[in-house]
Chain length 446, copies 2
């Protein structure tokens, strides 16, 4: 790609438009955003005007919203109209959602009334719904069509559609009756009727279904596209695999951010300003910082203990750290398991019992290794026992909380991802310090 | 699904085979694993024998390896042969990789020699290579075929193939010349030549390419399938979108596990025994526990300080916790950015400069809020300053390490995911305690 960029820059500078045109034809639409990042505004427009109508729209859909805005502001109404006409309706809707008001006004002015109506409908679907990611371009067939008629219809309308590999059969009221795959049409005789070859056992989703649930269906059943119906079972759109993959990726990115105690954003790392970065991070940091005051005040209550045996303080970081790590291991596994439907709320006791046994095993190993090291370093059997017992109990508490809290969150219809390492660690800190000093007081008779 | 399961159980018990057969036809192949989980071994075999040949193989490919093994052990050689013949070659290869030796022997005995050869070839590709996830079933065309001949070929061989929507044009030496999409064939005239309609600007991958890189290409370019060529540029297989999605999911699952200080596993949570769970978790726990001894021994060096002002100890959890959270926020963002190619090694200074500024903002806010709380609770301006300065410096160190270490890991060709919260937290703990006591000694003249 890098050599391409340099070559293109040279071609623009030397005004070799024919060569440039040829070169651009070989570049995949999805590579233009990276190319445009390296060029200045005038160069981008020169290149953009060399693209064919179809490719111009496809490239446009791939661009970041700030580049889209800059482009719209530099082209004529006629050019804008061309782009919008060629865009898939779901991409056009996304565009309108992301542009500032003055740009939206100009876009709407340049859309024909039919498309404006469709876009208005699409804009009504909530952000997390299947309706918000569907496209209204699909091939619909009637059950009394012959295979030949179906082919004719696909040829006539289908090739501009986002996917032609699945065709949908509807009745007069647009109710979905079944699906026909293009490959089934291929083997059928030309005069067979669609109703005889269609698959009536059709998977479909509703416009109001959660889009992440829809994405999971794509993953599980290996669909290329899924039909979307409204409340009255009428076919209103389809969701294609590429949009489902985007939903999966966004869901993962969101989970990673929430699990690291941040408010999730849709923007990329570099596109997010330092103030937004700070805002997204400070809320959880403040909350967790203030929560850890509890741990601090527990420690002050044992002032006498560590005044007598100051060495105890040296073990606080190790015990807190190990507890936190034990807890975040479990919570990460459970949160992921819940996200992928591998673990369900009803599995609660099964999971807990498993974590209890695992925590016992790792706790004992940690206690033994650490006991050995304390004996070597301090020859203090009492201390070895205090720390060892604390480690086992802490591991058990940490791993229990690591599975209880995410499942509880799910049960309460909260996002289990908030019960990840940062929050678990803060809670486990309190428990482990409490256990540590109590065990110390008990065994060492302080 | 649940009502389906109960209905099916009843039908088996009452031996209503016709009804059962009908019922089974309506169940998607991907739903059989969930169904089988609820049935006993005999019931599974009854159901399995009612499936058509094609569906039997498809269902088989969806099953977990322990159910596959149980099934193989309960069916005749003839039945086994039927399954293997119908399986896609990549699924057959996966099966052989996962079965114990005695089962593999029986499988190999029941494969025809041609397929055995193909499987042997597939087994040679390393686990993380494109070759290991490709299938050898695809539609290949010649450039001098007409569109009609292409259709005939697709009808003859294509419908058993994993995807017929992309056809590949090869020369006599099987070198890849171009791609023809099925929809392009549809609009072409019957007597047009393939070489006139094929797209020669074909994306392809090599057998040795990393499979995660291949999955990223699917995501970026919205492919349904990608051709795979060997060193001599000969077409040897294709990778389909469903396998690419699996690779993406596995990569994410692996990252989550590594980032929570665990050795990644391929098995599901419940399929993994408690000993394997313990083994996967103990290594990092031990390493991090022993690393935290450093923090402990730093604390012992400041015994005098906290003997004079015991309140200092109460702030250790808060400072360590906040430092850890600051660090894991940054490291999570950077690790994800590196994984999705949004952040590159060359962006190092850009990222660092951003994190420094963010850490300054959040550090100051944390310091002010905490300072106010100390003034209210203890009326101790010195302490407020000590903790405040420590928080700002710790936030800066934590966020710096959170971006430096993952990028450094990538530079050293290590997995950046190991530089996640647990390791960063342990390192930041040491730094923050050191900063805290030094600032305290300096300001409070202890």
């Amino acid at each position: 790609m890098e050599e391409n960029i340099n070559e293109i820059k040279e071609l623009i500078e030397n005004k070799k438009m024919n060569k440039l045109h040829e070169k651009l034809e070989c570049i995949n639409c999805a590579d233009f955003p990276a190319l445009f990042e390296e060029l200045d505004k005038e160069q981008i427009i020169v290149i953009y005007r060399l693209l064919s109508k179809e490719r111009a729209a496809e490239v446009f859909a791939e661009l970041d919203s700030d580049v889209q805005e800059a482009l719209i502001n530099s082209i004529t109404d006629k050019e804008l109209q061309n782009i919008i006409d060629q865009l898939f309706m779901d991409d056009a809707t996304d565009l309108i959602e992301e542009m500032p008001a003055n740009v939206v006004k100009r876009i709407l002015k340049n859309i024909n009334s039919e498309n404006r109506k469709i876009i208005n409908e699409l804009l009504k679907y909530p952000d997390d719904s299947a309706g918000s990611i569907m496209t209204v371009e699909f091939v619909d067939l009637k059950e009394n069509m012959t295979v030949q008629e179906a082919f004719d219809r696909i040829k006539k309308i289908g090739l501009k559609k986002e996917t032609v590999y699945n065709c949908y059969v509807t009745d007069a009221k647009r109710k979905l009756l079944g699906t026909v795959e293009l490959k089934d049409l291929l083997v059928a005789e030309r005069d067979e009727l669609i109703k005889d070859i269609m698959d009536t056992n059709t998977f479909k989703v509703t416009t109001v279904m959660n889009k992440e649930e829809v994405a999971k269906m794509f993953d599980k059943y290996n669909f290329i596209a899924l039909p979307v119906v409204d409340k009255e079972e009428r076919l209103v759109g389809i969701i294609t695999i590429d949009d489902a993959i985007d939903v999966m990726q966004d869901a993962v990115a969101e989970d990673f951010e929430i699990m690291a105690a941040m408010q999730p954003t849709e923007d990329s790392y570099f596109k997010t300003s330092i103030f937004t970065h700070s805002k997204n991070r400070i809320v959880w940091l403040l909350f967790l910082m203030l929560s850890s005051i509890v741990t601090g005040s527990i420690i002050t209550q044992y002032e006498e203990a560590f005044a007598t045996i100051p060495l105890l303080v040296a073990f606080i970081p190790m015990i807190m750290g190990t507890g936190g790590n034990c807890g975040s291991q479990s919570s990460t596994l459970i949160i992921r398991g819940l996200a992928t439907d591998e673990i369900r709320i009803k599995d609660f006791f099964k999971v807990w019992w498993k974590e209890i046994r695992v925590s016992l095993i790792v706790g004992i190993i940690l206690a033994v290794v650490n006991g050995a090291r304390i004996m070597v370093q301090y020859q203090n059997l009492q201390l070895a026992f205090v720390v060892g017992i604390t480690l086992v109990i802490t591991a058990m508490i940490a791993k229990s909380l690591g599975c209880i809290l995410p499942i509880l969150a799910k049960k309460l219809k909260l996002d289990p991802a908030i019960m990840a390492a940062p929050l678990i660690t803060t809670i486990v800190d309190t428990c482990s310090v409490l256990v540590f000093f109590n065990v110390a007081v008990l065994i060492m008779h302080i």
